[in-house]
Every structure is written in C-alpha cells, then in structure tokens.
C-alpha cells in the first residue's frame, strides 16, 4: 500500500493542503505503515522551515507592480543601448518607466544585494523628478549600469510624490519611503536583468 502514495501526495498531506477526504485516506495509510511514517518524517524537514522575516523594503518580485491607487510598469531594455545583444557587468542598460499619473514624482532606484539598497539618489542634489527623464514611446527613460556580478540582478524603481521630504541627514533617510511602499502610497516596481560573465 505504501508505494501507492507518492511524495507529492505525502507532501500535500504534511502541508495540510489536502481536502478532508484525501487527507483521511493518507492518514489511514500512514497510520498503518512504518515505512511511510519514516518517509513522512524525512519529508517534513523539507517543508517546516519558516519563511524568513521580510525585508523592510516591501518590494514585490518582478512583474508585480505595487501601489495602492496608482501602479506602473518598468521595462528593462538590455540590448541596443550599446549595440550589444547581451549584458555584461558594468554595461549600460535602460529602463523605461510608465508614468503612474499625478502628483509629480521623484525617482528612487534600488538594487537588491543581500537586501534592497538605494543606489540613487545618494545626495539631495541627485534627486530628480520622473518628468526630468527623457520621454520616449516606451515611457520615461532611465539609463543605469549593471552591477559587477554575473547572473540575475534585481533592480527596483520607487516613485514617491515629489513633495515627499527625504532627510538625507537622518539615520535612515528612507524611512518615509519604506513606510510609503508598505502602505501602498508609494508605487514601486522591480525588474530582473540577466548579466553574463565578463
């Protein structure tokens, strides 16, 4: 009887994801079969690890625009910027940002290393508005340089209202933006680019 129960079924049972009827069938088999009990114990270890505490930056994975009322998309263009088809560490690439609409907005660019890190702006004078970026058919164009590591790199753009104050002298100048992203008042979108080894 034990070989009738596959690992996916046992895993569903362990995750408590089966409906009551199928769950009762698995429970019957497991209760009678020491081999299955051992298998269940082994599989349990694979699913019990907790989900780690989220980052302070509640930035969704690529493809999911975040924002309470206004959301936007960004499109990473990794070819044609330098006439190359592939992106290498340090290469320039472009992001096109859809305008989520009023009010006027500032642009904050982040990169995911161990955690999300603001790469732009670093000083008050770096602050730019979305409307300051070149307006192209695909959206507002932002040129960036790929990081030095090969592989998948995640980038994000947050668009706080232009009048939102950012205190660069504070311990964490980004508290207000972090809070705004978490409560949906600051729209944010991430993108993943693939960088080949140099």
């Amino acid at each position: 009887m034990s070989k009738r129960l596959t690992d996916p079924t046992l895993l569903a049972w362990i995750a408590d994801a089966l409906e009551p009827g199928p769950a009762s069938i698995v429970a019957e088999s497991v209760s009678q079969d020491p081999t299955l009990q051992a298998r269940v114990a082994m599989l349990q270890a694979r699913v019990q690890e907790p989900v780690a505490t989220p980052s302070l930056w509640r930035i969704p994975p690529p493809g999911i625009p975040s924002g309470r009322d206004q959301r936007f998309q960004i499109h990473a263009q990794t070819a044609a910027v330098m006439g190359e088809q592939e992106l290498r560490p340090g290469d320039r690439f472009a992001m096109h940002i859809d305008n989520p609409g009023p009010p006027p907005r500032s642009v904050v660019v982040l990169r995911k290393l161990e955690d999300w890190t603001v790469v732009f702006p670093v000083d008050p004078e770096d602050l730019i508005g979305l409307s300051d970026l070149p307006d192209e058919d695909e959206g507002r164009r932002l040129d960036l340089f790929a990081g030095p590591e090969a592989g998948a790199q995640r980038w994000a753009v947050a668009l706080p209202a232009a009048d939102q104050e950012i205190d660069f002298d504070a311990d964490n100048p980004w508290d207000g933006i972090i809070e705004g992203i978490a409560d949906g008042s600051v729209p944010v979108t991430s993108v993943e680019i693939e960088v080949l080894a140099a």
Partner: protein
C-alpha cells in the same frame, strides 16, 4: 501533523475484517440480485440521486449499456463467495478501502466473466464508491472541528474587513504574520515534490514573501485572490463544500451554473440524460435552473449522477476500470472548481454576509488558504514561479456568445482528437495559455499551424460574412471546462504512444495505436513520430505531477 492545530481532525475510522466481510457479503448479494432483476430501483442507494426516479433511470440506462470489462481480480474482489475470500490482511483493522485493496491483491474464488456478473460487479463497485463519496467527500468535511481562537479570530475578521472594504494595506503586516508561513509550507512542499534545488526554493520563498499580499490583492481582469480564498473559506461550512457554495450563489448564479453545465463536455451529456425530452440546450439549461432554484441540495444529486455516468463511460473503455476513484475525485473536483468560479465571479457583495457570519474565522481561513496555496504553488511551478498576479487559481467557465452552438457529438470527438495532436506536438502549455488568455505569449509557428491548419474548420466560429480573421470563442469556451476531461480521455492513447519503441516501423505502430480513435476531421500526421513519443511521455509526466489529490484505487 501539527498538534494543537486550529483544525481538529477526527480519528481514522477502521473496521475489523469480520465487519468488513459482513459489509462485503451484503453488498455482493444485493449486486447479484439487482443485476439479475434488471430493475433500476435500489441500484443506486448511497448516492444522493437515489431518491429521484428520473435520475436513477438515466444512471441505469448508462450503466446497462456500458458493458464494463473488469478483469478477473476485480470480479473476484467484488463477487467471490464470502467463504472463498482469502485470509485476512496482517493488520486486521483497516478502512473499507484498504480491505478492498487487500482483496484485489489476494483474490478469492474465480468468478465467471458473464454479462450478468459484469453488471453485478458494476453495481457492487457503485455501492462501494457511493459509500466512499459519502464518507470522503461529505462526511469528512463535517467531521472537522474548527477551533475558535478569540484573539486570532478577531484579527482575522478585521483583516477580512480590510479586503472587503478595498483597503487591505494597513493589515498587510498582520495578514503576513498570521498566514504567510502556512502558504510558505505549501510552496516548500511543491518545490520538494519536484525536487527543486535549495537555492531555487529559497528564491521562490523570498519572492513569495513579497508576492503573497499582491496575489491576494489581484491585478488585471481576473478575480482577486482574496475573493477566491473567501469562496474556499465558505466551503468549510456545513453541510459540505458543494451545498455551502451553492447556498451562497446569487439569484442568477444557478443560471450560470446551468449554462456552463448544459453546454460543456461531459456535463452537457449528463444534462441531456437528465432532460431527454428537451432537445434544445437552452431549454435544458432553463429546466436545470428550475430544479436548482430554492433547492441547492439538488446540486449534490446532479453531481453524484454526473460522477456515476462518468464512471459508466470510463468502465466502457477497455482497461480503464481501475481508474474508478480517480474518475470520482477528478469529476467532483472539476465541478466544484466551476462552482467556486461562479460564486467568485458573482462579486464580493455576495460573499460579505456569509464570511462575516462564520464561527472560527481564523481556523477556517487558514484551512482554506493551505489548499488554495497548494493549487497556487503548482500553478506557479508551471510558469517557473513568475508570480503573475493576473492569473486565477480557480479556472472560470468562459462564456461563449449565446448564439454560438455548444460543441457536441462528432465535433467534441474532433476537438478531443485535435487536443491529442496538440499534446503530441508538445504544445499542451500553449493550449492551456490560449484557453486562459486567448493568446500564447509567443509566436510559435507549430502552434500557429495547429490552429490554422489542423483545427477542423467546422470548429471555428461561424463567419459573419466579413473577411476578418477566424475566431475561436466556441473552442475556448468548450475547453475552459472540458480540457482536463479531454486530456483524461486521451490518457490511454498517450500511454500507448509513449510506450512505442523507436525505429523504422514507428509510423505504422503509431497508426495502429490510434486506429479507431482518431477523428476523420483531423488530418493524420505524416511525420514527427519520434517526437510524438517523447512528447507523450512528457505530457503524462506533467499530468501525473499536477494531480492534487491521492487516488486510492490507482
């Protein structure tokens, strides 16, 4: 399993060998008696339609013409004289299902393979399966106890209020704190089921952490995840998931259910057998609405009848009698999915009162979420965990324009055959995307030829005289409901093709394998046979991997 869990499950109910043999003896005698008398009365005791004479007649007609083909072990496990039964299993207290499996492995006396015995086998099997359906699909839901947990219940109610009011943002942290770890377990379980490497699993869990809230929030035109979840939460209510959902359908809900059922796949055949005097599909749909309105419990009766008819159909196909429980669970699962989709599509206002009247909302939400997350995780796996929040877990019944005739009879067979060709050409995922979204997201030339050259012209939507490109609303509407069933119907053929050995005679072997089942409306392929074998294997592997429920009789 976790102890002190919010949901308390009943102990496993086992029966002794002597009790089982008493049940067996009674079931066997009754089946032999009914098979000899050829009288439908009493044949379907244990099924919810047993009290409805016209439904029993429909079931009897299907069963008596099915000519099931059980093998010797199956005949013996149901009809051997009790005194010839093998020794009891080493563990004498088992479930009825396990005792039956023991008999299949250790047959008693041989039973003559006669028409009467085959019918008696079918009746005995239906009696056994009817009891299993009652136990597993209805009683097991009611046997659960959802434990009130005042603090978490209050939090959960407040969070539901956030979703219903359109402002869940302030509750995001609390929502994650209460429910994210359970969702993470389902994703880890699915990743483990497919043996994904640790670094992939960690990437998936990292993305899930941020995607969970947005999945609930939804995006695009689909039903938001929180609405899908709310419907699943209602499924936890008495008297069981079907009636609990049916009871909450709005006034036009049964119309949608009836329209979908009367015009799609296997259900359309069931509805036709329920109303044999009504030749028009729309008339049958109206009659079905008439039966269901005010009597949501009738839906369980119709669902049971549908399952019995599907069993009879399956048993009529050589070599498929062993699939019985899979037929039961898949057909119930699909019908319940359709029902959930109708309720989810009815709008949040319909759900509001029902959700806020629940006792133990935390335990019910958690239980529903774990099942939702399991289905969601398999869906994400199929798209490499891209976390597209526009997709819905609950597949909707796409409504074709009412003037488009349902696909039925020879057309349905041609469509099934075309689906087989799509699978053999390795484009099953394209087909699924196309049914769901009307596009495939790429410019695949093989898919383009499948649509433009291989799909029978008669299945295209009728042209309105203009020169616009062909449209396929009718096919997509049909497949939105019946693709899983068609894949299931094609499974034996896929097994045959998958087992073909390569070589110069492969084309001949392929044509022998599909002889008698290939529709004349679909052109026979002339090349690509080695690829067909590979794709048949891949498709079978994929179909097996997306089974969400265990099939005790497989």
């Amino acid at each position: 399993m976790p102890t002190g869990a919010p949901t308390v499950k009943p102990r496993v109910t086992l029966v002794s060998w002597s009790d089982y043999t008493a049940i067996y003896t009674q079931r066997r005698s009754r089946a032999l008696e009914l098979a000899s008398s050829a009288d439908p009365a009493g044949c379907f005791d244990g099924w919810r339609f047993a009290a409805h004479q016209e439904l029993c007649s429909a079931a009897w007609t299907a069963l008596s013409t099915a000519n099931p083909t059980p093998d010797a072990a199956q005949l013996s496990a149901s009809l051997s004289p009790p005194e010839s039964l093998s020794a009891p299993p080493s563990t004498t207290s088992l479930s009825e299902r396990q005792h039956h499996q023991h008999l299949l492995k250790h047959p008693g006396a041989e039973v003559a393979d006669t028409a009467t015995n085959r019918l008696a086998w079918a009746l005995s099997e239906l009696s056994r399966l009817g009891a299993e359906v009652e136990l597993r699909e209805r009683q097991s839901w009611n046997a659960l106890t959802y434990r009130p947990m005042p603090e978490r219940d209050a939090q959960t109610t407040e969070l539901w209020a956030g979703w219903f009011s359109g402002n869940p943002w302030t509750g995001r942290e609390a929502w994650d704190a209460l429910f994210l770890s359970a969702v993470g377990r389902s994703f880890r379980a699915v990743a483990a089921a497919r043996s994904l490497p640790d670094h992939v699993m960690e990437r998936v869990i990292g993305d899930l952490r941020e995607a969970f809230f947005f999945r609930m929030l939804g995006g695009g035109d689909g039903v938001p995840g929180w609405v899908e979840l709310a419907v699943r939460v209602l499924e936890t209510c008495a008297p069981g998931p079907v009636e609990a959902v049916a009871t909450n359908l709005p006034s036009d809900g049964f119309g949608r259910v009836a329209q979908c059922a009367s015009s799609r796949g296997g259900w359309s055949r069931t509805v036709r057998q329920v109303f044999p005097a009504l030749p028009e599909q729309q008339a049958r749909a109206r009659a079905m609405v008439g039966q269901l309105t005010g009597s949501p419990d009738r839906l369980e009766a119709l669902l049971d009848l549908h399952v019995v008819l599907r069993l009879a159909h399956t048993w009529s196909e050589s070599g498929r009698v062993a699939d019985s429980w899979r037929v039961v669970s898949q057909n119930r699962g699909r019908a319940r999915g359709r029902l959930r989709a109708v309720l989810a599509g009815a709008g949040k206002d319909v759900l509001l009162d029902a959700v806020f009247q629940l006792d133990a909302p935390y335990a019910r939400t958690l239980a529903a979420l774990k099942r939702y997350a399991w289905a969601w995780a398999w869906q994400e796996l199929a798209s490499d965990f891209s976390f597209d929040i526009g997709r819905v877990v609950t597949r909707p019944c796409i409504e074709a324009a009412p003037e488009l005739a349902p696909i039925d009879g020879a057309e349905a067979d041609a469509l099934r055959c075309w689906v087989l060709l799509v699978v053999l050409k390795g484009r099953l995922e394209h087909l699924e995307r196309w049914v769901r979204t009307a596009g495939t997201g790429d410019r695949d030339s093989t898919w383009a030829r499948l649509i433009s050259d291989d799909l029978p012209v008669s299945l295209r939507d009728p042209r309105d005289g203009s020169k616009r490109a062909a449209t396929y609303h009718r096919v997509r509407a049909e497949l939105s409901a019946s693709l899983p069933g068609m894949l299931d119907d094609n499974r034996p053929l896929l097994h045959e093709v998958a087992s073909l050995s390569p070589g110069r005679k492969l084309r001949g072997k392929f044509e022998t394998a599909i002889a008698g089942t290939w529709s004349n409306a679909v052109a026979l392929p002339k090349s690509g046979f080695p690829t067909f074998v590979k794709n048949a294997n891949l498709a079978l592997h994929r179909l097996a991997s997306i089974e969400e429920a265990p099939c005790p009789n497989d």
